[in-house]
Symmetry: D2
Subunit: 284 residues, 4 copies
Amino acid sequence: MNKITILIHCTDRSNIIASITSFIANKGGNIVYVDQYVDREQNIFFMRLESEFVSEDFSTEDFKLMFKTDLADTFEMKWRMYSSEKKPKMALFISKYDHCLYDILGRYNSGELNLEIPFIISNHTDLKPIADSFNIPFYHIPVTKATKQEAEDKQLALLQEHNIDFIVLARYMQIISDKLISNYSNKIINIHHSFLPAFVGAKPYHSAYKRGVKIIGATSHYVTEELDAGPIIEQDVTRVSHAHKITDLITKGRDLEKVVLANAIKLHANRKVMVHNNKTIIFT
Amino acid sequence: MNKITILIHCTDRSNIIASITSFIANKGGNIVYVDQYVDREQNIFFMRLESEFVSEDFSTEDFKLMFKTDLADTFEMKWRMYSSEKKPKMALFISKYDHCLYDILGRYNSGELNLEIPFIISNHTDLKPIADSFNIPFYHIPVTKATKQEAEDKQLALLQEHNIDFIVLARYMQIISDKLISNYSNKIINIHHSFLPAFVGAKPYHSAYKRGVKIIGATSHYVTEELDAGPIIEQDVTRVSHAHKITDLITKGRDLEKVVLANAIKLHANRKVMVHNNKTIIFT
Amino acid sequence: MNKITILIHCTDRSNIIASITSFIANKGGNIVYVDQYVDREQNIFFMRLESEFVSEDFSTEDFKLMFKTDLADTFEMKWRMYSSEKKPKMALFISKYDHCLYDILGRYNSGELNLEIPFIISNHTDLKPIADSFNIPFYHIPVTKATKQEAEDKQLALLQEHNIDFIVLARYMQIISDKLISNYSNKIINIHHSFLPAFVGAKPYHSAYKRGVKIIGATSHYVTEELDAGPIIEQDVTRVSHAHKITDLITKGRDLEKVVLANAIKLHANRKVMVHNNKTIIFT
Amino acid sequence: MNKITILIHCTDRSNIIASITSFIANKGGNIVYVDQYVDREQNIFFMRLESEFVSEDFSTEDFKLMFKTDLADTFEMKWRMYSSEKKPKMALFISKYDHCLYDILGRYNSGELNLEIPFIISNHTDLKPIADSFNIPFYHIPVTKATKQEAEDKQLALLQEHNIDFIVLARYMQIISDKLISNYSNKIINIHHSFLPAFVGAKPYHSAYKRGVKIIGATSHYVTEELDAGPIIEQDVTRVSHAHKITDLITKGRDLEKVVLANAIKLHANRKVMVHNNKTIIFT
């Protein structure tokens, strides 16, 4: 049996839901999940649909072609189609902080994540032993001002060689170049250690401490050219008090970062996220 | 323009989603919202659908008939259909606590609630001035052991006379008889001041204090014959500490009760709740 | 019996806790509550203490004088002392939104708030009926560009005439002048409808919608000359999704605003808040 | 410099706070932290106090003796005293679930936990490689009906040999015998995967699913003879919906279990927990 996930967006029109579901049914598909959202302000229709095809003759490529010519072109849809048998490939970029790394690899190991991790890239070697203990290939690509361009070329080569689908910056602590961003548009997930848009940029826990907030947060978002301003995938918060020092905020914040990043990874890997106008639509 | 909301559940089958959406489209309806859920354990399909019909010839009654004969009977569906122009009628049952009453009437006044409140019933007269200040008819129906049967007959007569769609027990503090429950099955909403199933029955804040929990909650549920055991619509919680006395729990809990009950009312009034096997499916 | 609450802050020193508690004991006081906090970065000591004096000879004024000369001057303390028999007087400033008003007056009515509300000031007459139904004097002081100065003089006269201790802006929607702020420094409580410091200024729900945040918040803070930048007393948040329109954010936000403002009022009225360096220390 | 933490409880009396703080000051101690709580219902006084002694002549043993004879005996105090230089020793009991183990060892490695882990005990060998990778001695003590008594004797011998201060059951999945409990009264911390007192006993996620709750939780508590009924140290919750299957509850619950258990461990290791009447007083 083939299981296909389709993500669609286009201008909203009469009959669009019935047209799509009828098309699938006519091609022998049984729709097992459908969710939709209409942005009424801009009149845009979004849909996520899962369909099963039991026929032995079913060909994903043929179906894709028919979907395009018979349906998508008519409605001028932007769409993506995924076969459930192909797990997405995720590259992990890390630096020196280990909490998100342990968390992701622990989940990976226990089968919680529906994805493959072909390799880890780091600009330092500190965390190589962790990668080793989980048997994930580890590439050390140092980044300095002088070598930044060269480092990125190496990263890009590795990403392309392994057919990487998306990148996770697990506290990577380096600015990503526009070239990498444009190659992986809405496919680079970052974890920022504040409740964005509060405390953009460096040292957000220090800023939160200084402002005297009573709640701190973490935000996972897609990386865009503007720093910490990309589409937000997931956020969470926790309560703090005047008695928490900056180090306490950092410790409490780590627990947020881990869970928020893991949730964002799961949403993306399960193809539940669409992006429009720098905002995400999350189908849960 | 007519706007119709349909709630459906039945045994899951191939093509059911496409069949429903095509049917609607063929009758001239434009589907503006669809959400579905399949209970895989029991193989039951649930759907909530909103459709707009622009034709001047459209008749809700005719459509209902065709829906039944052409679609619902075939799939052996259980279904309900609502016209958006008809607001549901809600009866409020209260006793002596005023916090939920103020909260509901404040929301009602500000236009936040998509419903009508034809009257309030209370077994005491204490809160009549509040009903008066919001211009809602107030019926005092005292309840004693001796008069319980008679009181319920009066309640039932009022409910039927005003074509009440659902009942909200806003801290009514009386056990509802099986007769009333069977007449308004899954249409009587209660607010219980604990995180059910913990602390069923009377004085849950006292029990929570005694057990030394670090979090207290409130639960809104449909009333069934078994006390505090009906399908849960909404729950919320708040953190407490050893330093909170029982009176503190009661005060903090009131804020939970208000918001949890208001959310349950909104979900029910907007026809977003389905009930199956003593559990709710909430389409948001 | 006299019950006294004392708030102290000064440079931290050896023996300061023992010195204070011994002083109280020597004057016949039984300490029933003590909490303290030291800002180690700046070496500042903060304490909140409640003490009971059973002697019939006890005079608050005499005790205050001894406290000053024998203890406070030695340690160069900044301090405040309150007798529990005197409830603080709170003035409510409102405009056209009624949700915080209903909420505060409902709590006031039920005895939840340890304070007096001598009057309500509004720049509009829309909410006068609510004030009337709760029997609170209502002063209509219109504010236009031309009359702003005059209006503030009227406000100030009323505040002083009634010996108002603190002011609550319950969605008052007007910028407070520096003159009023300096007269009631750290005594004017505002509710801002965002998770500060995100979305300072007007229309924060619109900004939150535009940014696509997954969580919205509300913040209660003391008013300072810089807009929405004063010491934060209380914050809370709630989860939202892409499907929430701006009106949904406003409706959900109202529930936050009510609870956050009520909590801030209770903390202030119970003398549990100290302010230092534009941050609050909250003794709970 | 010596830093001492003292935990005290006794019948509440006049002057008790001043008596304790004066005593400390007279012995040359500078109190750097004090917090207290009075259970007014039962008239019991609780205090947590940290004091620094700079004198080179200071002897913890001498101070302890004086504290006992000059202060504690007079007020009939129950008390414990800890020197900050001695980290508590924690034994980890595990079975086959790895998520809490990874979480605790990750925190231990990063220096977040103020304690020592001399060894790990498990009734299975599955997780030995994790213990090895963190260089913690691992003892495999199988438990069967026939060998239960013998296994416990081995456990007890190991605990005593290493002067273990407290035990953490990180999803150990075995009933602890009364003998072990009485030897480590209020020193065995368990993590239960529900919001107690809801869903006591086995398979709480299954019960939560069946009941249709909208929020699930986790609870860390001290182990007592009655199953899942000991004093609660920490609880947390997360929101779920009808669409979450039991496996989803288990996955979401794991994130709760990790954080709730870690927080309980930190509170206990930092001597911030007192127990009375099967409830905890938590000084934060």
